[in-house]
């Protein structure tokens, strides 16, 4: 799992997510099977489901965007929340729809988590490159990864410098929140300018080594026969799984 080609893993994960999201509404059994498959793979990869599930919580806040559907979907009412000026009525259909959306996204995120845990960032970026993703996009992703650490370091140093001078004397009036907000605003601004200037220097450093606006990529290792076989086997499984789910869920 860790050694498999990043391209293969990427295609499979995207395929998996696609099939999960195409499952008919309320196909909870199918989602359960899909999730068990993921758990199985996580054991094969010696990661275990605990890390996979824990890693998936990063996406939790986004899932809540689906919550209003509980109230906006028409169907058998469960209850009404009265806000005085207006009231909201929840429906069973809404609840089931939201449950489907939440489960689908949760399972999908876990698949992505598995990919990230079992692949180094470097391999993933190269995999994307070999999948013929636009070079510029790959370059942006890899630069972002490289400079995320540099930028957080810079931001942390600025915060520390501010903290070190944020003295308070007993009895003195506390500075206003508005003023402090302004300071933070300035910090964000100067972080932006510093990053901008850094980008100029990076561009010079690239130019100095022969970059002329055309990114050159490294040679490509052909996919092994076993990897092709895996790709088609899993793809076939996903398609039949999808067909079966749709066949057993006539109401969708």
């Amino acid at each position: 799992m860790h050694r498999a080609d990043a391209r293969l893993k990427f295609i499979l994960v995207v395929g998996f997510i696609l099939s999960v999201s195409l499952l008919p509404r309320e196909s909870f059994l199918a989602l359960g099977i899909a999730w068990s498959a993921l758990v199985g793979v996580s054991f094969l990869a010696r990661l275990g489901p605990v890390r996979m599930v824990r890693g998936s919580f990063v996406a939790l806040p986004f899932v809540f965007a689906a919550l209003p559907l509980v109230f906006t979907r028409e169907g058998d009412p469960i209850g009404t929340v009265d806000f005085g000026l207006f009231s909201l009525t929840a429906s069973w259909e809404g609840v089931r729809l939201v449950a489907t959306i939440m489960l689908k996204s949760w399972v999908s995120v876990q698949a992505a988590t598995l990919l990230v845990f079992s692949t180094t960032f470097h391999d993933l970026v190269h995999g994307l490159e070999r999948l013929r993703l636009p070079k510029l996009m790959v370059a942006v992703i890899s630069l972002m990864y490289r400079y995320l650490a540099v930028l957080t370091g810079e931001a942390q140093r600025m915060m520390r410098a501010r903290q070190a001078r944020s003295a308070e004397l007993p009895g003195a009036k506390r500075v206003s929140t508005a003023w402090r907000a302004k300071v933070v605003g300035h910090m964000v601004g100067s972080l932006f300018i510093r990053s901008y200037e850094r980008s100029e220097r990076i561009y010079l450093a690239m130019q100095a080594r022969g970059y002329t606006g055309q990114l050159v990529s490294h040679r490509v290792r052909p996919m092994l026969r076993a990897e092709w076989a895996t790709l088609f086997a899993v793809a076939a499984t996903l398609v039949s799984f999808e067909l079966a789910a749709h066949a057993w869920m006539p109401h969708a």
Partner: protein, 253 residues
């Protein structure tokens, strides 16, 4: 040291005895009108190691950007191995002159050390089969053998500085132009750098504020101030002239 200097085409272009680097009447002004270089004349022969010193804002960095075809002369000429630094020659100039910037975080922009060291050779069109070998040799030369898979942000400043040097050594340049290579290094990192600079066979132009580095590595020193070269001679002589050093905001080692 297996790394050989002087790429064939630059070596062929230079007639024997002629300077490898020849700068005549170089002027440069920034778009805002600031006159950064006011008539630089300099000749450097193959194998020379030259320190470029002077106060901040003297024009050292601007000057160095001219040696690699990042800036082009507004007036005057810069020739590398007989080849004029002009827009149409930029590619060949950049292959002959390795420029390393001060902050390794600017120089190392790829996810792994390997990618970064391979960047230059890849853009020079070196055959893929040769690239691994070039990367390995360059990392070996700077004492970072086996660092291919490492991530720059997990390395010490000294290691990153040396990796930055490897990113141009892999291009096999005949001239190395380094901007403050010892800035921010601890004593051990500095010592390792000094040994490395002494070992490398390339012609070198190194800007620095580190006067002990100047004394220990470079037989020749050039002092710049206000966009001009104000002194050029054997390091030993210049470093004895306390008046001269003080006039240009420098100090004895």
């Amino acid at each position: 040291m297996t790394m050989l200097s002087s790429r064939p085409e630059t070596a062929a272009a230079a007639t024997p005895g002629a300077p490898l680097l020849e700068i005549e009447g170089l002027h440069f002004a920034y778009p805002d009108g600031f006159q950064a270089l006011k008539g630089i004349n300099l000749r450097v022969h193959a194998g020379e190691k030259l320190a470029l010193i002077g106060p901040n804002g003297a024009g050292k960095s601007t000057f160095m950007l001219h040696l690699n075809g990042i800036h082009f002369p507004a007036r005057g000429t810069v020739r590398v191995g007989g080849l004029a630094v002009e827009r149409k020659n930029a590619g060949r100039i950049r292959a002959a002159v390795g420029l390393v910037f001060q902050d390794p975080d600017d120089q190392l922009f790829s996810p792994t050390v390997y990618d970064d060291v391979a960047f230059g050779p890849l853009h020079m069109g070196i055959p893929a089969a040769e690239i691994d070998d070039r990367v390995r040799r360059a990392l070996e030369a700077v004492g970072l053998a086996g660092f291919e898979k490492r991530l720059p942000h997990h390395m010490s400043l000294g290691q990153r500085k040396r990796a930055a040097l490897a990113t141009v050594l892999s291009m096999d340049p005949s001239i190395l132009v380094l901007d403050e290579p010892s800035a921010g290094l601890d004593p051990r990192g500095r010592r390792e750098l000094i040994n490395l600079l002494l070992e490398l066979p390339q012609t070198m132009i190194v800007s620095t504020h580190d006067m002990r580095l100047v004394r220990d590595v470079f037989p020749r020193t050039v002092i710049m101030d206000g966009g001009e070269i104000v002194a050029d001679g054997p390091t030993q002589e210049l470093l004895q002239d306390a008046d001269l050093l003080e006039r240009h905001g420098l100090e004895l080692p």
